[in-house]
Symmetry: D2
């Protein structure tokens, strides 16, 4: 068989580990050939390829990013996109595809499979918000980077009797905020799943200031204040109720400073969370995903994606992955509240 591999969507530590595992097992155990498609779905659409053999995957396991590069191109939004994909596969003699990506990439994979193009998916999102798998690789790395930053910020907060608001990634799901906040000993954790009451946040911050320690507030980029605050802060929110200038972290830090009279600083961790070398957890998970994805291809079990359930790697229909967002359940957030304030 000749198998095409592509990586789509945002950068995520572990992508290279998947690619390496796919190729090492595919070549070494099954004798397949591989071809890399560049820049996500743009590769098959525009027939952009790159050689992909054992030599190309040497040494890439510990490296962040993706040697195949990425993009957000969607063949269903390109004129004649699907036909172009078909044409490329025919031209390159490609029998099957492995698509590594998040909701969008896997959504395309599903629709292509429905149209008879054989694809196996590998789930990827640092946000950990894909429903069909216990964890996605990249998430553990992001959480470690964020919690190391929070460790550092504690001492600077305390030395200056300051509040520090740390904005972490998570537009629709608060997993990074929840886990890094728990790991970092945050005094408040705010997630997109539950609107927050600024006065409650201020109360936590003030109660922390009564100790000899200083408050650390962890806020997901997608977290939002309650309706009441939105009215009060009217001009500062956009039509969809999102906080505009400088992000929610800066906005909240300003609110805290105003309402408590204490200094507060915002730190926005940003893209640092999604690059660089993966943690061991993510390397192992990504490697196992790759090994099982090539098994699925080898067995002709298309339209599936690999997923983690407990300590096992299983296969689930691609449809499952993209049906619903996995958000932080209320009880997980409640569990963390004992540490607030």
């Amino acid at each position: 068989m000749r198998i095409g591999v592509l990586t789509g969507g945002g950068d995520c530590p572990g992508l290279n580990a998947v690619i390496r595992a796919v190729v090492r097992k595919g070549v070494g155990e099954y004798g397949h050939e591989f071809i890399g498609f560049r820049d996500g779905w743009r590769g098959p659409v525009e027939n952009k390829t790159t050689p992909l053999g054992v030599a190309e995957v040497r040494g890439i396991l510990p490296r962040g990013g993706t040697i195949l590069r990425s993009s957000r191109t969607n063949p269903f939004k390109v004129d004649g996109g699907v036909d172009k994909v078909r044409a490329t596969l025919a031209d390159r003699g490609v029998d099957a595809l492995i698509a590594i990506g998040g909701e969008d990439t896997l959504g395309v994979a599903k629709r292509l499979t429905d149209l008879g193009i054989p694809v196996v998916g590998v789930p990827k999102t640092i946000d950990n918000d894909l429903n069909a798998t216990d964890y996605t690789f990249g998430f553990d790395t992001a959480v470690n980077i964020a919690s190391e930053a929070i460790d550092r910020l504690h001492t600077t907060a305390e030395s200056h009797h300051r509040c520090v608001v740390v904005e972490v990634m998570g537009r629709h799901a608060g997993w990074i905020a929840l886990h890094s906040g728990l790991a970092g000993g945050a005094n408040v954790i705010l997630v997109p799943e539950q609107r927050f009451d600024v006065s409650q946040v201020v109360a936590y911050v003030e109660s922390r200031f009564e100790t000899d320690y200083s408050p650390i507030v962890v806020v997901a980029e997608g977290a939002q204040p309650t309706e009441g605050d939105m009215v009060t802060q009217n001009g500062e929110l956009d039509a969809f109720g999102h906080v505009r200038l400088g992000g929610i972290g800066q906005w909240l830090s300003d609110q805290i400073e105003k309402q408590t009279g204490k200094e507060s600083r915002a730190v926005v961790l940003g893209h640092v969370q999604r690059g660089g070398t993966p943690t061991a957890f993510d390397r192992v998970l990504a490697t196992r995903f790759g090994l099982h994805a090539i098994d699925a291809v080898h067995e002709g079990d298309f339209g599936k994606m690999v997923a983690l359930r407990g300590t096992d790697i299983v296969r689930v229909p691609l449809a499952e992955a993209t049906s619903e967002l996995k958000t932080v359940p209320a009880e997980r957030l409640a569990e963390a509240e004992v540490f607030f304030g």
Copy 2:
């Protein structure tokens, strides 16, 4: 309620996170009081205590070790040990115990519960070899430390055209070897679960030397050569077939040097793997274990220990934890073999 807390057995990153979570929730949500017992079961046996309140657990989340210290004391091996434990609990007005530890500590917990002393257990082992839980805290930290070391050793091996044998922890189970070997891109992984054939290891090493790269062999401290080798190496193995001088890592490195004619060096990571600040994964897991352990105590659900199943924390009978060792299954090792050589 007044609740006693103790930590037994080997050091493990995350112990302090458990203690903190227990106390924070126990005091903050349930209004319980706590008392720390020093040095594992020696504390209750010898009535050695230390204050344990919200003030004592401030700032300990990111710290390795245990503020309660540890020991391997077993009340069932001390003359009148169980009576001494009863006497201490009566003297201190302690209603229940939370025992954080591995197989031995939890085994004592089980037997004491059978004798009417109310205990809840929290599983702990960096080796990840407790049967009742998907993961134990400390394991992820150990694996990260080992795989960072392997990352470093790759470049030094290559610069010198040398083989490097890395000996990691794992006397009876090869989990650390398997995960750090996968994460570190090892060329051979040897575990206690399966005796290894030195000539096969040598073959992998030689095939790696044919590339421009150098071999890294990861070996668990408890791994052993096959019977055939034991006879050949007779004088170097003890009565139980364990390799003696300098450990299995040094022994294997010497064998490789002799049989390949290439330089080989052994690195024994040792206690570095079990100390210091926990990873985010271990902090979150340990914290959740602590929160659920105090819930169990509060509900009077004794004779249980907390455990991870998928992403949930559940309670299982203490007996389950100590019935059988969780070793690396053959298929997980087979999965890794595609990367050998």
Copy 3:
């Protein structure tokens, strides 16, 4: 002797290492007593003290922040401030002070010495911009944090064919930008010492995009565009020519995006650079500064501060430290330019 110790100004990794070294040698070798003043110069002004003995400094060597806390209080700006300092020292029986801080803190130290209050200074600034010493502690930690972030951002930039602009600390001196930019393999480094030409930056960025790699621009927070750009971007600069909204990093990233048509993202590292555990370099330097500062006090050599010259710790007049900012010389920046583009 009874000696007071205080830490002033911004948080800086290594402060605790200085305090520990001062106390350990002062008590252990000279038999002095110590008293901690809280919150920088506010401590002596408001008679806020804290016990400071060998017990208090145990375990603080690896910790960021300062156990004495800090502030920007200046006794010369407080009504009767100097008299209050005198009164506190008399009240507490303090014979001499060790003041650990940056330009402002040491400036106060100098003026107080001139008024007969015996002070020895220890220089501190993560910006490394104090003239009298080769390096200050905290700088190496900040540079490592920034260059690790840059390492991570390379892979994410490349995966997305994006430019990333990394804003690092340095209001008046570009040392952190220069060193982290060199260490991180930045494609452009911009410092406050030399106004930059946006079109030149854009040219570097475009030439980098012609390779298969993506540009990383490191910009010190105090860097500024040339006059020409200021006029062009008129509305976006304040009266002093400082870029306003979102800082220089965001502004520059927007410019790059506009002028190249490629995606660009800004990452502002912020306070993460100044907190947390110090590197070994900073721990050793801070420890040696502390040891030599207590020697100076013991010998009655006041009005001096300790400084690094080559590998030696020397004493220099406090005046020297505060006379002139140590900025990045033109030849050091020129040295780096070979890597631009």
Copy 4:
């Protein structure tokens, strides 16, 4: 000009950074060509080369090891070695060499220069024991790795009331032991420069055990006990007075256990200290060394090596580098003794 580059001796983080800087400036600013010699001096002796241009040095800055590989080959110990070097240089049209290495490599460089072969040297040793330069790259990385390990070992020592003996690199000079011991808060530091009295070490260890903390002993691999101990331990020392089995760390740990009756464990950090990604300090130093080395070649200033003096890079005769070992002066060790016990 066509310039050959080689790296000799032990692996050292920063080698690739030197190579990159040499090539980037040599090509970009001076228009020179480069050729890589493989495996240290074996390359010129055996005419083993590898292409070395801007493409080859992309992305190598953060990587440990050396893309040119290394060896301990000495042309003066190979039959007709120098003639072979001459022949290779003629064959390849090489006008000058840059030799990056330690005492041995630079010693060869000096002798070749004396014979009319134009060489510029770049000093390299993780041991920091080259006389002509304040610091060598690789040392800072080694010290950071060792002090992070010591940080971790503190908590495990304390949890178990154990002594831990950490053996670090340094056969002839104790710089790594001194700096990592200071940075890690060791309770005893033992270096090759000064024989140690075991009973004194035991006294320090016992006094530490009287606190609630546990002793950490840092010992350089080349440290040795005093004559008295040597006699006592007769059978365990070789003809040169070196401790034999298991190294000095294990030997000392055994002594401590015997003489104190407390548990003690040895950890030998080994090759982990010399591999992997360099710290920012080492990357900057190595980069600057490379930039100045190519300047020297360009100016025809042969027989020199680059060196760090304060914050400046200077050139010194190769003879200076190899004349005398830079050992830890007595006063630097005395400075550290205040922390012993």
